[in-house]
Amino acid sequence: MAWLAKSLNSSLGKKLLMAITGLFLISFLLVHCSLNALIFLNDGGAAFNEGAEFMGKNPVIRTMEIVLFAGLLLHIFDGLRLWFENKSKRPVAYAKVDGAANSKWYSRSMGLLGTLLLLFLILHLKHFWYFSRLTEGLEDHTLYAEMQSVFTNPVVVIVYVFGCISLGYHLLHGFQSAFQSIGWNHPKYTPTIKTIGAIFSIVIPAVFAAMPVAFYFHLIQ
């Protein structure tokens, strides 16, 4: 297996790892967002709580949760490693750089956006993953009720909205970039991939951002 380790440790291999873990995390976002969107049924969280309970008890989902954390950690580790290594390749910085002339700012800022997301994620996991997995599930205090109470704090709501904006820009570059890193650049498919990527990057973070906002303004009970 030395051949595989060698390949994955090359500059191309590190990007392949970023792409595969990134696409895996994208698939998780879709599941997470769809399930959480059940709160918009405005049924007092009945459907959402049922979904949350299923996700918390089902052994397949719980196993995938471990895989998810592994994928997330790999994405973070590999991303930070690339960021530091890439930075070292230009020891003397340019005095003047006109980056906007040739590329999008968010494509040049994936390390920064990813770091913001990591900070947000630590807060987010503390809020909800810690509550639902590491504390005893209280009969009268559901995950839905916890969302309601967390999102009464306006600072938390603002941080969540900014977290979603960071996610949107991270995805706007990352979604289509992942396919390029895998080697999937083709005149037939690439335009479609870019369109789907752009829609995904706007819709998913927008739906996520709507959740704390809706709770804060009591748009859902």
Binding site: S7, S10, L12, K89, R108, S177, G183, N185
Partner: protein, 252 residues
């Protein structure tokens, strides 16, 4: 229509690779808008020589946009403000009277500065030497069409072969990555039947050499493609990725 410009130049001066460089500011006046950027530097250098100063060292050769020597990072972009041209094909009409122009060398640890604006791009040669060739006996020229090659493939191979190895891709990339260069050199052979024989070992050897030279990884920003004077497409980078990963799994 010819005009004349008065300009302030901020030019990077560095004695050699082992000492730190710094910017020097020069005023030039009466610069014709019909001059190329290199001719403008020639005017400055003439004056510096007459005054007994050290002229600004810069690389140049053909001065017709095909050799890829004139590596200058002008106002934050490789080869200056225009797309699809090298510095020698950049004309002073692209600048305004009274403008301050910042001129820097390519900045990458894999391209050490030799002097002022001259960098050592031998790393590119070593990437080519690692696998950018076909070791088949080509013999005499064959009859036309004796090797059937689809027109689209020939066109794509020629488009990749248009790379002049100027290093603008590395200079433009925030990671100082040489992916566009290396992928063009992989692609020009991978697309043709003569290149198939060594396809797997070529991609592996060239990528290994590229990494060893100290170029960065690819962030897919597309800056290289936008700044390439020959319009090399980043589709080549995706092709190199495919070549490399299929070689990873299929090579013995």
């Amino acid at each position: 229509m010819e005009g004349h410009l008065n300009l302030t130049l901020k030019i990077w001066r560095q004695k050699n690779a082992s000492v730190a460089g710094k910017f020097e500011t020069y005023q030039v006046s009466g610069i014709s808008t019909d001059m190329s950027f290199l001719e403008m530097i020639d005017v400055l250098n003439n004056r510096l020589i007459e005054e007994g100063d050290d002229p600004v060292a810069f690389d140049h050769d053909c001065r017709e946009g095909i050799c890829g020597m004139c590596s200058m990072y002008i106002n934050g972009r490789p080869h200056g403000p225009n797309r699809g041209v090298t510095t020698c094909q950049l004309h002073m009409r692209s600048f305004q009277d009274g403008e301050t122009i910042t001129v820097e060398p390519w900045r990458a640890s894999a391209f050490p500065v030799i002097k002022d604006l001259v960098v050592n791009r031998s790393a590119f040669d070593r990437i080519i030497a690692a696998g950018g060739f076909v070791s088949v006996n080509t013999g005499n020229a064959q009859d036309a069409n004796s090797l059937p090659i689809p027109k689209d493939n020939a066109d794509e191979a020629f488009a990749a072969a248009a790379c002049i190895g100027c290093g603008a891709c590395v200079a433009a990339c925030k990671n100082a990555s040489a992916m566009l260069f290396t992928s063009a050199k992989v692609s020009q052979l991978a697309l043709l039947p003569q290149g198939q024989v060594e396809a797997a070992t070529r991609a592996q050897a060239m990528v290994a050499q590229m990494d060893e030279e100290g170029f960065g990884a690819c962030s897919n920003t597309g800056a290289c493609e936008a700044e390439c004077p020959k319009g090399i497409s980043i589709e080549n980078i995706a092709r190199m990725n495919r070549e490399y990963f299929s070689a990873t799994f299929s090579s013995k």
